[in-house]
Symmetry: C2
Subunit: 242 residues, 2 copies
Amino acid sequence: MADLVYREVMHDLKERIFKNQFENKKLPDERSLSESYGVSRSSIKRALNVLAQQGIIFKKRGSGTFINPLYLKNQSLFHYEGTNLGVTDSFNLDGQHPSVKLLDYQVVPATPELQQDLFLNENDFVYQIKRLRLLDNRPIIIETGYIPIKVAPALTPEIVTGSIFNYLEDNAGKSVTKSFMSILAEPSNEEDQSLLGLNDREPVGIMEGIFFLDDGTPFEFSNMRVHYKYLKYNTFVSLDGE
Amino acid sequence: MADLVYREVMHDLKERIFKNQFENKKLPDERSLSESYGVSRSSIKRALNVLAQQGIIFKKRGSGTFINPLYLKNQSLFHYEGTNLGVTDSFNLDGQHPSVKLLDYQVVPATPELQQDLFLNENDFVYQIKRLRLLDNRPIIIETGYIPIKVAPALTPEIVTGSIFNYLEDNAGKSVTKSFMSILAEPSNEEDQSLLGLNDREPVGIMEGIFFLDDGTPFEFSNMRVHYKYLKYNTFVSLDGE
DNA sequence: TTTGAAAATTGATACGGTCCAATTTTTGGA
DNA sequence: TCCAAAAATTGGACCGTATCAATTTTCAAA
């Protein structure tokens, strides 16, 4: 699986960090790591950079590389959901039962906006899929998705009732690894209120954006109107790469 | 300022992307860029990687590097980028005039929750700072922040009316480069409505979380109640480095 | 004209080297 | 002993090269 050098180093370091195998919360210097792993310093650097970006370690020039004490002490804090792309994945938390009710399913021409967002031509068509997502029979999300036919030609209402991402990964060997999302809030409209059981003072959170396949192909434009009590987006931000 | 090679390349490319100077939303290949900028391909790669991570471009092996059409489209007033940590920074981008009204400023004992979030002991004290942020005199955010005294012993109401982050960077040589934030939505309460000029159907967006110094020290717990029209958190999520 | 193999294009990974900058450790003189 | 200068340590930036893999283009055979 992890046949990349820097990934193997990264995973091994992660495990050793977890097992508290480093004294003083300090990692060996990069040159030593390079020698002991038998890889170039560049690869060590790359592995360490990923760990630093995840907030697991931090580096101080001239001093060394250290384990972030908060990562070990309060791990739940750092299990950030900024890395959960699919909605299905994010739900499996408390052993509750997610379900999907298909509200609408049709093929429509791509609007100009969709053409731009999904890199389509004028005569391209998209699936328009509107789903209500529930958790233990409580409605949580109204999700409207647009998927180009040419990207997933064999979709059916049955597939769409499950996880589209999982279907793609299992059957087409394509995986979704990137997304560009915007998160905002709005007052609820009448449809929100009736489908999600909100009163007119209660808002919805909105997550909308594009999901990409790992080769960079835009795969889906999605708009999710989320019951405000169930939207909580956690994210770890680091300016190091800037 | 940007005396780093890859940064200069990055900023130049960003500008050219913004000015639409690339045909077909396609950038030149890396080897050409390397030659035309007179820098190594590694530096080009590094610049492109940062842009890709920011979601501005995406790369397809064997095909080329392309501009993300979504990036040019987003023209929100409050354009909260996943890479902008401080609120002050996020405001300055659009050429509008930010200002701050100090609502409350006192020193209080750290609550048990703050003790945990900020890694404090029982007898530690924190500044409690409540500020109203405005943009061109329109109220945008009610921000309540908690900062341990021992991290920033010399804070004054005057400093707090400006940017705390900038003060720290200029005077203490400490910089804030990381944060762990949660984003959610709530109905507005009476205070929100009066301070932000909302009616009782209009919600607030909430961003709350912890800012860290670059050495990993938790620096501030912040809760921001944002006028819903001005909260737009854009984030590019990538599972590649995992 | 069509098709499919070969070649060219283009980004990805990895190596190893040079020099620099921040920090810590050592050392030698007052 | 104490302190400041020097040396060592350690991460950061950048270069140039080699090789591989995915995609597109070219081109010759059918």
